[in-house]
Amino acid sequence: MFFLTYLRRELRHRMRQALIIAIGLGVGAGLVVTVTAATSGISNAQAAVLHSLYGIGTDVTVTTAAAVPKSGSGGLGSNAQQENSLSVGDAGLLNASSVTSISHLRDVAAAAGGFTLTGISLPSQGSGAERPAGAFPIPTTFSVDGVDLAHLGLGPFASAKISSGRSFTASDTGSNVAVVDANYATAKRLTVGSSITIASTRFTVMGIARQAQGGGSANVYIPLGRAQALTQYQDLSSLTGRIDTIYVAATSASDIPAVHKEISKLLPAATVTTSGDLASEVSGSLATAASLASDLGKWLSIAVLIAAFAVASLLTMAAVGRRVREFGTLKALGWRSRRIIAQIMAESAVIGVIGAIMGIALGFGAASLVDAIAPKLTATVPPSFASGNTNTVGVHLAAHVSVSAILLAVVLAIAGALIAGLFGGWRAARLRPADAMVQMQ
């Protein structure tokens, strides 16, 4: 109890210095919590972006470069009377049989094909004589994804959540039914039961879906077979049995490199992209934020922690220096060095705990501030992937303080304080009672 009495009195006596050290440690720990929370939020946002781009469960995508440049697109200008037409993206075409070949590979859990088209809708304008002078109709475009109904868990549709109506079933394979993205449905005033026209073919909206984190890759989802059958545009007559993307799930995350290798061997001309490759290609403010968090954030945290540890150590050693008379007296009275060191370490540990509490509070506060004021970030995928189009999604950054971040903050603050205590204890241990007496005199 004498130990605790002495400890309590000393901390109260040196409250200001103790608080300074605790605040320093708290700022360092709080910064670690904040950076960890922001990084976690960014990682979650990146994962959600990737999921929305090619779906949850997809580990690898297979595409190929276009063999022949497309001559125009959308039928625009080719026929003034053509009101609805279709074009494929800039990605090349793969044989649907490749899906079967890939699904039989050793480390592959499942494979699904996909197709992304762009529908072009030109408002009806009547004969040239009736068209007002200088008035030209404005075409609207919308993206159409062909969904492999046998593998709804793969591809961009996998992360869609049905908000009204129903999703696809296997029996919809040959039906002209569609699931529409919620944002697109709102813009076009579509509901369950509405009709939409894709390349002059009428489809019935049977469901409306929301994609996580700002939107998926398409406005409209239709069965893959129906997408392949749409041949409005002459060049598209070869779509039957063709796809532009294969989505692959590996048996485990550790098998992804092996799957990449096996598919590259099977389809040497194809572009095989893992989720890691795609992540590195995502640009936009989300990528910038990720870079800032991992580079600047990490090094800033390290620098602040080192500074906090150094300041704590210096202040503790200075405090021991001011207590030379006190510790020298105790040694003269027969106190062992280890008892004095234990006293110093206990004082430091208490300061560390106070610093940890401050750090956690600061971390939570800063994370809340990030949630409140962080601007909406964007993520852009270049056109070489999946849909063949540049795809930009908006992402809200939500900083998440995890239990592990809190524990890390506690460990860092207390470790910093104990390191400072060790320096102080080392200095106290080197005191000789005689030296202390000389200084005291």
Binding site: F2, R12, H13, T329, L333, G334, W335, R339, A434
Partner: protein
């Protein structure tokens, strides 16, 4: 109690060596009161550090109750200080954050005495020096004389064999000085202590049984107090 044989203590100061004690011989009997005088820098404090097991000589032997302190490991020296030697300092050296009674207890902590017994002995020691009513006061709330009384109580609470006092009245006014010296003398007689007291003050030195004078690192005993200057 003490036998010092050819004790030398040197200190390195940069490129040269300071000889604090130069071949000192001294015997102190049990229960004796020895006063040590000398100019500043004559080695008085260094001698007290040798007697108090607070430092080791560069050469020679310091025998205390038959044991050569110079040859003991640090842990045993600490035990000797804890159990057998009481110190009274010129500047009192009380722990500022502890009360009077807690300061007295600090001398008993190394002896691992149970808390209740420790508190009781500390209270008695304060009573012996007339400070029972100041037990809960912090040093900052005590006068110089009262602080030195607490220092004396702390030195004696462990019932040491020897009491070493380094200028115990050096920071006190004349009246308080007499008060403290009377107290020390009384306790010396009552407890049968061996008392070694360092002082500049001849009037204080004259109260001792024997006076030694430090000069150039050597101690001359049996000299008259007048020869200390």
């Amino acid at each position: 109690m003490y036998t010092l044989s050819d004790v030398t203590k040197n200190y390195r100061k940069g490129d040269y060596t300071v000889v604090a004690l130069g071949g000192l011989d001294l015997s102190i009997e049990d229960g004796e009161w020895l006063a040590i005088q000398g100019r500043t820098g004559s080695g008085k404090t260094t001698l007290l550090q040798m007697l108090g097991a607070m430092d080791r000589p560069s050469a020679g032997a310091v025998r205390f109750s038959g044991r050569d302190l110079a040859g003991l490991p640090e842990a045993e020296l600490t035990e000797v200080r804890a159990a057998s030697i009481g110190f009274v300092f010129q500047t009192f050296n009380l722990i500022p954050t502890l009360s009077a009674i807690e300061n007295v207890e600090t001398a008993l902590v190394p002896l691992r005495i149970p808390a209740a017994k420790r508190r009781a002995r500390a209270a008695q020691a304060l009573a012996d020096v007339g400070l029972s009513d100041r037990a809960q006061h912090l040093p900052s709330e005590l006068s110089g004389g009262q602080q030195q009384r607490v220092g004396i109580a702390r030195a004696l609470v462990k019932e040491p064999k020897v009491l070493l006092a380094d200028e115990p009245t050096g920071n006190l006014d004349v009246d308080t000085r007499d008060e403290i010296m009377s107290l020390l003398e009384k306790l010396w007689r009552e407890h049968g202590l061996t008392l070694v007291l360092v002082t500049h003050d001849t009037s204080i030195a004259e109260r001792a049984q024997r006076v030694g004078v430090m000069k150039d690192g050597r101690l001359f005993t049996g000299a008259e107090p007048d020869d200390a200057s």
